[in-house]
Symmetry: C2
Subunit: 130 residues, 2 copies
DNA sequence: CCCGTAGTTCGTAACTTATGAACTATGGAA
DNA sequence: TTCCATAGTTCATAAGTTACGAACTACGGG
């Protein structure tokens, strides 16, 4: 019987910029991180089996959470059968002031741009059709 | 005879946060980017055959420049036999305000921390030896 | 004690990255 | 011109990373 290895949470001094950037360079992971950061409450993994209309296999999801955890971005805690995840944004803000805010802000800008582009496309399609 | 493909520079609207984070998640690439950003003048690739005391094979270096270019972070221009590289930080600053500044700042903080750690280690080693 | 739910691990297939060898491109000297 | 040197690129492949299904662990509740 193979026992499960304990969850790894780097101490804040061991958190690296490269690690953070790499973790947040993945669209699924930023989406998860953004959701965790925006909802004040802790959030369980299985809430993310669907992310931006795409369904994620749970083994993949588990790896994504591991990546976020080991980059130092989230803290995961077992509570019964579930895992409660919270961001470590306060700690990271102390170590790298403004970093996460700038990244999340850039993401909001990009999503807004993208939404606009989709609307434009839809309008063009309607015009062509009608 | 296989002709060389032209250099690809995405237009600023096509630059993505993921792309930027991915490009800057690599230690060699941030080091290059930081150097390009700090020196006001354009800089040729072969200046970076050594990066933070590590020597980089030139094929690898070429790929790193391609990654920076295609992420929209730098603009490369052939001048005779050399390639002149400049950052596109003004454009990116307009699209994603504060993003690059925060990332580069975080990097400076991390490097400073690292330098301190090395000094501490050296001091400890001297103490043990003497 | 067994079952169901929530996550993890493992094996493997698919993708990415690093690098040496061979190439292109350009400028200058003979 | 032709040849050479220098600066980068491309290509093949080896090494590393990521995705995901199947089988597992862990916990809580009948």
């Amino acid at each position: 019987m193979i026992t499960m290895r304990p969850l790894i949470h780097p101490s804040i001094e061991d958190v690296t910029v490269e690690g953070i950037l790499h973790a947040l360079a993945d669209p699924v992971r930023v989406a998860i991180y953004a959701e965790l950061a925006s909802s004040a409450c802790a959030n369980i993994c299985s809430n993310f089996l669907k992310v931006s209309d795409r369904s994620i296999p749970k083994s993949t999801l588990s790896q994504h959470f591991r990546a976020l955890r080991e980059a130092g971005l989230v803290r995961s805690e077992r509570r019964g059968v579930e895992m409660h995840n919270t961001t470590r944004c306060d700690e990271i803000e102390k170590r790298f002031p403004g970093l996460l805010a700038a990244i999340m802000n850039a993401h909001r800008i990009q999503s807004a741009d993208c939404a606009r582009a989709v609307k434009r496309q839809q309008a063009a399609a309607r015009k062509q059709a009608g």
